[in-house]
């Protein structure tokens, strides 16, 4: 197995992008990442793209080929392009598949990308599309929504551990504070705990400001064997671990409703592969599709004991400058959540931080960063660890 490095990154502005299409934004991200890596089209061996549901959001399947075509890599170069799907973890999984390809020695230069165009349909149709990441036959048909599933996690977390609505709100407040300093973030405004608690209730105890938004966006990273990474960049960022774990598709079948065992297992596997522990990590991008999801994530990955995530957040430990900065990009909550792109955006954020290029949201002296991308209510978790040092 070969060591793998990230040599180029690009994330488009996230938001409601009415004037551009899926093929426009993925091309923008891909070309941006290639320019960042100073890689030519002729050098690309393969494209992996995370996309949850082109079929439902824009009634377009065969996304891999579409992207290769519009990036000018199909007609003469015939670069292979593969779509990867694991609901909201599609991006993280595309990255993992790309790392496999380079590590194996089968490919050298690989584009790992992610894209979702969610606003071409109504918000309620988009919610229905997202609900397909849960168990359609035994959750969806009963009236379950995604906020509803995470609300049930939150309700039990509050009941068992005394987590409060204010502590949940603190996650959103912190992520908005980070989003202000991220030029690609969907929301760059400050919010208060009161703003969250006064916003409309979606599924008790989750308010609309506890939920990540519906977003258009794309992101891409360029992977290369570590041995040749310096040919392209002075600051390659090395992949120290890639891991993935599965759990039951339905929330009701989990061992413990308040724990995402897939996150626990993927986290353990990643730490083992990297020979690192939670206290070695300088910053982490976690999958905060809802505020409760960030609290569960920091517990499940081992940054804080089970049940103490709310208090830990309230005390400021997860803010930039705290013990473990979480979601410096603004997270899914403020940066936005174009589902297939999120896992790649998380990696791009960590690369930017480890390069020291994150401006006002820079974590001082960041050497090692982690990403955590979840599919559905926790049936898939994908974790990566990155480092400045090989």
């Amino acid at each position: 197995m070969r060591d793998v490095a990230i040599i180029g990154i690009k994330t488009t502005r996230f938001g409601e992008k009415w004037d551009v299409s899926l093929r426009d934004i993925i091309t923008e991200a891909g070309l941006g990442a290639l320019e960042d890596a100073r890689v030519t089209g002729e050098e690309i061996d393969a494209i992996l793209v995370g996309n949850m549901s082109g079929g439902q959001f824009i009634e377009q399947e065969h996304i891999g080929a579409l992207i290769a075509d519009y990036a000018g890599l199909a007609k003469e170069l015939h670069v292979p392009a593969t779509r990867v799907e694991a609901a909201c973890a599609s991006g993280g999984l595309a990255l993992r598949q790309g790392i496999h390809a380079v590590a194996s020695g089968l490919e050298d230069i690989v584009v790992a990308a992610g894209v979702e165009k969610m606003t071409d349909i109504s918000a309620s149709s988009a919610s229905t599309a997202l609900a397909a990441a849960a168990d359609r036959e035994w959750e969806g048909i009963m009236g379950a929504t995604f906020p509803g599933l995470y609300a049930m996690i939150a309700k039990l977390h509050m009941h068992k551990y005394g987590t409060t609505s204010e502590q949940l709100a603190q996650v959103a407040v912190k992520n908005h504070a980070n989003g202000i300093h991220n030029p690609i973030a969907q929301y760059r405004n400050k919010i208060s705990v009161d703003d969250v608690l006064r916003s409309i209730m979606v599924a008790d105890p989750l308010h609309i400001f506890d939920c990540s938004p519906i977003t258009d966006g794309a992101a891409a990273v360029i992977l290369a064997p570590a041995d040749i990474a310096h040919k392209y960049t002075d600051t390659p960022i090395y992949v120290k671990a890639t891991s993935q774990a599965s759990d039951t598709i339905a929330l009701h079948d989990r061992r413990d409703i308040t724990t995402l065992d897939a996150s626990v297992e993927a986290g353990k596997r990643a730490f083992k592969m990297a020979k690192l522990a939670p206290n070695d990590i300088d910053l982490v991008e976690v999958h905060d599709c809802f505020t409760i999801a960030e609290i569960c994530a920091i517990e499940d990955l081992g940054f804080v004991k089970k049940g103490e995530g709310g208090k830990f957040t309230e005390e400021g430990n997860t803010a930039i400058g705290g013990k473990i900065p979480v979601n410096t990009s603004g997270g899914l909550k403020a940066c936005g959540h174009p589902v297939g792109a999120t896992g790649i955006k998380q990696a791009a954020e960590i690369v930017e931080q480890l390069r020291g290029d994150a401006g006002k949201r820079q974590v001082d002296g960041a050497e090692i960063g982690m990403t955590h991308n979840v599919g559905g209510s926790g049936a898939t978790a994908v974790v990566h660890i990155f480092s400045r040092d090989r």
């Binding site: 229905t128 036959e137 048909i141 009236g143 929504t145 906020p147 609300a151």
Partner: protein, 132 residues
């Protein structure tokens, strides 16, 4: 709209109407919805159909204010994970005053309409729950 085609709903209709799941006589575990393989014993499992009593308790719940497509007229509605007395848990709605719901509350099953595919489409029936 969260709907299903007629054959997709129909093939599990008996399980939905009567709370019929699976019992593994090898490890003794019970499963609902029904499964074709015991997740614990895998190929070593011995499965038989099992009709659940439907008695159970609320493991966790939420009151949904922003409905899934097709459920708009039902808001606010209570969605819960019900732990059946035989062991497995399922997702369903609890009928009753949302403010009176509590984790640990005992519930029993009732046969109810779940939804409908448009004005002239199929009506879905299934099992909801009410407080004991």
């Amino acid at each position: 709209m969260i709907t299903m085609s007629v054959p997709r709903f129909w093939r599990k209709q008996v399980a939905r109407y009567n709370l019929i799941g699976t019992h593994c006589t090898n490890c003794g575990a019970y499963y609902y919805p029904p499964r074709n393989m015991c997740p614990t014993c895998r190929r070593g499992g011995k499965l038989e159909n099992f009709k659940f009593s439907g008695k159970g308790e609320i493991l966790t719940y939420t009151v949904i204010h922003t409905a899934a497509e097709g459920f708009e007229k039902q808001t606010p509605y209570v969605l819960a994970i019900v732990k059946l007395e035989e062991g497995p848990s399922l997702t369903s709605q609890i009928i009753g005053d949302p403010a009176s719901m509590k984790i640990g509350m005992k519930v029993r099953p009732v046969f109810r309409k779940l939804g409908q595919s448009g004005e002239k489409g199929m009506i879905y029936y299934g099992t909801k729950f009410v407080p004991e």
